[in-house]
Amino acid sequence: MSRAVTVANLSKNYGRIKALDDISFEVDEREIFGFLGPNGAGKTTAIKIMLGLTRAAKGHVEIFGIDVQSKPDKARENIGYVSQNLSLSNEITGYENLLISAKLYGVPSSIRKSRITEIMDLLGIQNRADDLVKKYSGGMMRRLEIGAALVHRPKLLILDEPTIGLDPQIRLVVRELLRRLVNEFGITIFLTTHDMGEADELCEKIAIINNGRIGVVGTPTNLKRSVGGDTIQFDTKEPEKAVSILTGKFGVTKPIAKNNTISMIVNTAETILPLLINTLARAGVIVDAIHSHRPTLDDVFLKYAGSRLAEVEREGDYRHVKEVRRTFRRMR
């Protein structure tokens, strides 16, 4: 198996903000590799550098052995890019969009037509080829967007939040399409997501990214295993006291308090729960509510990025989804 993407020691600042801080990772051929992190983690910046749209302050990127900084156009011939926003022209037809993409990427005129038909069939939108894109549904737009990135048969497909703003059912369709691209066409996929479920289900390898740093890279299964056990979460009115009591006990290294909620990772929750409640009660700390669960990628995120993904992004994400939905509407 050869290497599709090599990213080494990449750093990028926007003013005083460190958008990327010395990140490195590798993507093997025919792999689905995901960046999991909240908005503002540096995902889009990383993509921009991989595409040669933005220059890195430090480090380098190779796409199938081609250095992106020195030969961006050459590298881009191997890349299909699906941006977070809808980048198609909604004032022209689906067919025309694919045609323009094909010409832009230099697909020879002799095979252009057959290539486009092939893609229309693959996406299941052949009967809407001659409709204006503004009349498409959000899911069809997204599929066409992916199609437009495939006309030149790229070896690597880069997708920035491919399912953001889509209904759950359509998300499944898009994920299925991506899986087919890997299995049937041998394409390598690099995608970013803030959706743990998506990362877990779709990606073979994940990098946890937060504040411009990669916390860890691994397969979802290994990462969840690496969390080392179950998570216990409880609410109390005396979080500081609870933390000081629990630190070092039950194999917990450091409980993390957020407002009045305390999260900690233990070996087996079933046996530790009663002990924990007793210990706290003896010290006079009242537990208002408690629950435990098996490791998820959110726990992985907690361990390697120091916070819960859902909490980091709740506010920003909501705004972001709203914005993407607005562009969907604007396109129509």
Binding site: L53, N85, E91, K103, A148
Partner: protein, 254 residues
């Protein structure tokens, strides 16, 4: 070089295809020149003091109105570029293996083509209103050439300004600010001789004056003596603005 031209053609094709599906923009824009000729032209033809030679006032301003309507269309090229960038549509072009200059050129050329539609409309209206147009096909070809280059020139200017200003609101404001002096500090509506001295100097560096002069020579007067100067002025302005736009556009998205 070949790649740039090839990709420029693709960007131009994209723009023309958009235009093909939605001509409402062009139709609405054709209304304004009609109003200039019918309202402004009909009133101001009553003043006989303007030293415009032995042509009617309506004939005098027809090339000016044509230049103005091409100016408005061209200025909008930049506005639509910011709009596309904000929507994310520009990302796709930037991420393609196409030189950035070809994006600038493709957009600018589309401004030129749109200008030609305006020319067609204005020729038709002027004909109906009894303006004495020179029916020589070579002169008409000349008009087509001038209008196209002018469209490219001001589209490039608007791309340049857009790229510098960055937000839609600023761009809109700036364009409105620019169109007024470009139009009125030129020979579009009255001869330069009647302007105060300082304004005459301004009109001398206003590319619009050269365009109107060339159009007036080719459409109305047939006096080609000053045509080389007019074309020279236009060519210089066009090269400067294309260069400036291409340079400024390198920053976009970085």
């Amino acid at each position: 070089m070949f790649t740039i031209l090839e990709k420029t053609a693709v960007i131009l094709e994209l723009e023309l295809r958009k235009m093909k599906h939605d001509q409402s923009d062009l139709l609405i824009r054709a209304i304004q020149p009609v109003l200039w000729l019918t309202i402004f032209g009909s009133v101001f033809r009553q003043f006989r003091q303007l030293p415009i030679g032995d042509v009617s006032y309506l004939s005098f301003i027809t090339p000016g109105v044509l230049a103005q309507s091409v100016l408005f269309i061209a200025i909008f090229t930049g506005v639509s570029l910011v709009w596309e960038r904000d929507l994310g549509q520009l990302d796709r072009l930037l991420a393609a293996p196409a030189p950035r200059t070809s994006i600038v050129l493709g957009k600018a050329f589309s401004g030129g083509v749109k200008g030609l539609f305006q020319a067609g409309v204005i020729f038709a209206i002027a004909f109906v209103m009894g303006v004495d147009l020179i029916p020589n096909p070579i002169y008409i070809l000349g008009v087509i050439g001038v209008v196209f280059v002018f469209g490219v020139c001001f589209s490039s200017m608007s791309i340049f300004v857009t790229t510098l200003l960055n937000t839609r609101e600023r761009v809109m404001g700036m364009m409105q600010l620019l169109t007024m002096p470009l139009f009125f500090a030129s020979n579009a509506l009255y001869p330069i001789e009647i302007m105060p001295r300082w304004l005459q100097i301004v009109s001398l560096i206003n590319p619009m004056s050269y365009v109107v002069e060339a159009l007036r020579a080719l459409m109305i007067t047939g006096d080609l003596s000053r045509l080389p100067i007019a074309l020279g002025g236009m060519a210089i302005a066009t090269f400067i603005f294309i260069g400036a736009a291409a340079l400024a556009f390198r920053r976009v998205g970085r």
